[in-house]
Symmetry: D2
Subunit: 319 residues, 4 copies
């Protein structure tokens, strides 16, 4: 049942050409291929067929699936058994360009997908002359808004995820947890909020130079307001980041590399919630849109948690 990493995400978009252009030029992904109303993209270093799947749709923008990898097909069978035993409803499905694939919803309704293999394509890491925008290298993690972070944490830890960092008052349920499988701080992040909703998908960028280049190209293309937050420095994880909104409002993070965390003696790091001076080492908090807007999963109504009042930029400036 060896889940290895966050793998891919499928999103609906209203204008496929426009979205492909955004991900190619601003984020710097590579278009693997386009089949009818579906476009498959990947990062510069990725040898897998897709880490981002865009599906044209006339409806509201939605997240269709979050994909994770297991190491081998036999891990997939072990996972199926574990999920079925626990009362979930895993289903075998055929997905183009992927090996055998398992569909299942987590307890909050997040639409998950697991597979061991994909079609392979050449890495584009040395095609330097084609690097564009943020030079997105590979999908790294997802962040979700969750109405019940503690419940989500339990679901994923039962599947082998480890907690790298979390945000909680001493002895109280967490407001946020950072879960990982691949040995850096994040494969999946859960934060309290109306959900389940996909808050963002994160791609790595080589360094601060390419992180800023994504912003500069966004500005050049008249998309300067799509730079929603940053560049800034994270408290948890310590990465430099920038958050972009794609043409349908799906949020993408570009960030520089994390630290390695794969030893059994590494204890989860606790952060005290609430004070922006802790989680935000410098600069200003995120504007309210960053806290309030996220992508709904197709067919899954979002629930609002009882308590939910983040320190937004608006509140900070008014205080």
């Amino acid at each position: 049942m060896n889940i290895t990493r966050a793998s891919h995400v499928a999103l609906t978009v209203s204008d496929l050409d426009r979205s492909i252009g955004f991900y190619e030029r601003v984020v710097g992904l590579v278009l693997t291929e386009r089949e009818g109303s579906t476009a498959y993209l990947r990062g510069l270093e990725e040898a897998c067929h897709h880490s981002l799947v865009l599906v044209a749709s006339g409806d509201e923008p939605r997240c269709l699936r979050l994909g994770f990898r297991v190491f081998e097909d036999e891990d997939l069978h072990a996972l199926h058994e574990r999920l079925a035993t626990a009362g979930h409803d895993p289903r075998w499905v055929d997905v183009a360009h992927q090996g055998p694939t398992l569909h299942v919803d987590d307890d909050a309704g997040v639409r998950l997908e697991f597979c061991a293999t994909m079609d392979t394509v050449p890495r584009r890491l040395t095609h330097f002359s084609t690097y564009a925008g943020g030079s997105g290298q590979r999908l790294d993690h997802f962040q979700l808004q969750s109405p019940d972070v503690a419940s989500g944490r339990d679901f994923y830890c039962a599947l082998g995820f480890r907690i790298s960092e979390y945000i909680a008052r001493q002895g109280e349920p967490p407001e946020g947890v950072f879960l990982q499988r691949k040995g850096n701080p994040h494969d999946l992040v859960l934060f309290t909020g109306p959900g389940p909703r996909l808050h963002h998908t994160a791609f790595t960028t080589p360094d601060v130079h390419t992180l800023v280049r994504a912003c500069d190209v966004a500005g050049e293309l008249g998309l300067g307001r799509n730079v929603e937050r940053g560049p800034g420095r994270h408290g948890p994880g310590h990465a430099l980041f920038v958050y972009l909104r794609d043409p349908d409002g799906h949020r993408v993070e570009l960030f520089t590399t994390h630290y390695q965390v794969m030893d059994s003696e590494n204890e989860p790091v606790r952060w005290e919630p609430g004070d922006p001076r802790i989680a935000i080492p410098w600069g200003l908090p995120a504007q309210s849109s960053w806290h309030e807007e996220a992508t709904v999963f197709a067919g899954v109504p979002a629930r609002t948690p009882a308590s939910y009042a983040p320190m937004t930029l608006e509140r900070f400036l008014a205080s």
Copy 2:
């Protein structure tokens, strides 16, 4: 009368040790020497004795002088004659570590100082192991808030300054002008606002890496809120910037290199005022403190211009 460049600034501070620490560790300047209640600092590449003079004072923080260089002492005499003829009141003064020095106020009351030479000290450009924070390399320019930008522009252009860029509605008086002598876009910037006040002093930083390092060190030292604005990209001048407030609230800009502008065929570039989408290629406008707070010149009351309503972050978020 060959004015060559913006040279140095003298500021009062309430705690000299604390301020030296800020400029050394966060901005990355070098302390040349400290004499009694005065500290002399310079950038890493500067061979001049000082570009920043800090004077301990129990009073409110003030700007004492803005310094410019002329090429030779004979240029200083030509300048004296020109200023006296024009009805100003230039005075010869002795200033420590500087050659013959001329004091004069501009029409708005800005306290100016001109000299041709300074004591020299070794450049620290290759002392890489001592680089700190933003690695401030050299003083580049000053920005002033001015109650009458058109009048200021005329004063400085009469002294040989050239306009690189300006902000004005077609056919109307400028809201801001960028004036230069040394062949890059800025030695002196004038923007409409309550003044005369010193808005900021700008030092160059080698690249975006060191620009972010200044922010990170500020955060590490618990000064994360002193990162007032940015990192971001300027419209005019096109530099990457960050604005920091020193412990007394004096504002410092760190920015990456400008373009060269020294050919007689280069016409001033006009920017349309008001729309943040033009002057701010990406990200958010500056918070109101950036627009409203600045350093008063010692003994010079600030006047508020008739019309003054910049697009602040607060207004932008509320709109």
Copy 3:
């Protein structure tokens, strides 16, 4: 028997103070502590007690141990059983600041050490003002010169290592193999040469800026000739690199991040040997010292393989 990653190396040095100074100032490691004639260092992001152990010795510089991690102590027991069954001679030993530790030699005589845990210390990732030289972040991999690469490959693959890349003529034994456990291309690299000898230990550096900073600080300290090779771009792995010699001649590589390789569909990449135009995308080959000099393992005589004639800079320039 879950080996997770390359972990640490122990080297003898002739002057402990001098070597600590080199690794702190040029490579940018952090001194965890010094106990008698032993110094323990680690990278900026590392929470483990040590990744580099320096032991003062009057003898010729030697490598004492290469350390790898397994995930849990039970993996250590499984490893012990596997090695004993295969006719090796694993021994349980006590090593300061490490959990239970296993010593064993590989078939070529490389002195290996395995443990699951170490004492933990704070990560220094956000202590930006203390970053120095190359800002070495974490130990990433070892490269060995081996008299029989095929045999070494078999030994490590039997322990679960996977081949990411290799250098071989079609159908012939490999001249070099890149073996990994942690999901990037390298934990252990074997290259044909007189051995077993430690060719280099590699630490990650955040980006090209810090990679060059290591060189600049070396130059500032009068150690410019210790920059043996680079900066340059690798063929296999595609990283930017620089190779430094420490005061005793032990070789250290600083390099920027690799690509992720952890999916079961990723096939090993084959490189054709011999032609520098393939393995060296730009610039010049390494000087002969880089090919010929390496660190002997304490008490283990090096054997020279039958065929061994790399394209050195000297040969290249003379051709």
Copy 4:
């Protein structure tokens, strides 16, 4: 007679398409326009019509002209008078896309060209999505091989050039001089060698990231051996550099920014010749091609100076 800066260079090339491709993709220049067998290129930040002129020719590659700017046309007339009085033979010529232009040879036979103005074109500084290769920003300086450096120095100093740095044994004639007009260390560099020949034309690159990108794109395009020297750090001037050979062997330097040097108290810096440990802070000396090969001026035979034995990489490795 206010000469302001190095401005442009005209070179013959054997295949115009191939050369345009090299300068666009590897160096990162912008093609302003192509007229018949002539191509006009400029750097990303340049508003002038051309800084590099390529002329297709079936003959050996040659340098046709080195161009400098004066500030205004009246400076051109003063220059004409000065040169004529000194016994040179200045001629007024018409050059496409330039204002009135003066042709003259220096004492060694270097074919010089002076003008005050050029046609203007938009700066491309904010067209981030079109940045390519080394992102060449602007022409900065020329380096010449000269059979008599002292004589060359006298010629240019008489025209107002200032010496920023020079290489000479105490009290002996210089082996190299760095001459400047625009306030950074270089507009024209003269080094002892068979000449007059153009050793290289230097363009600025934003930072070490783009400097390495030029190398990476060269490698990607199969031009990795055109990276003749570097990346490395200069002694004099202190810039990071890389030297590329274009398809005809013309040499281009990309380098990061210099320091500012425009104050009358700045004395020339002397460097001791001969010892690569001084001029080359780290790494290896240049291979012999860098010392021996250069571009002849059209119709001007090169003379070899009496003494000429630089420390080449070949000599260094053999020593």
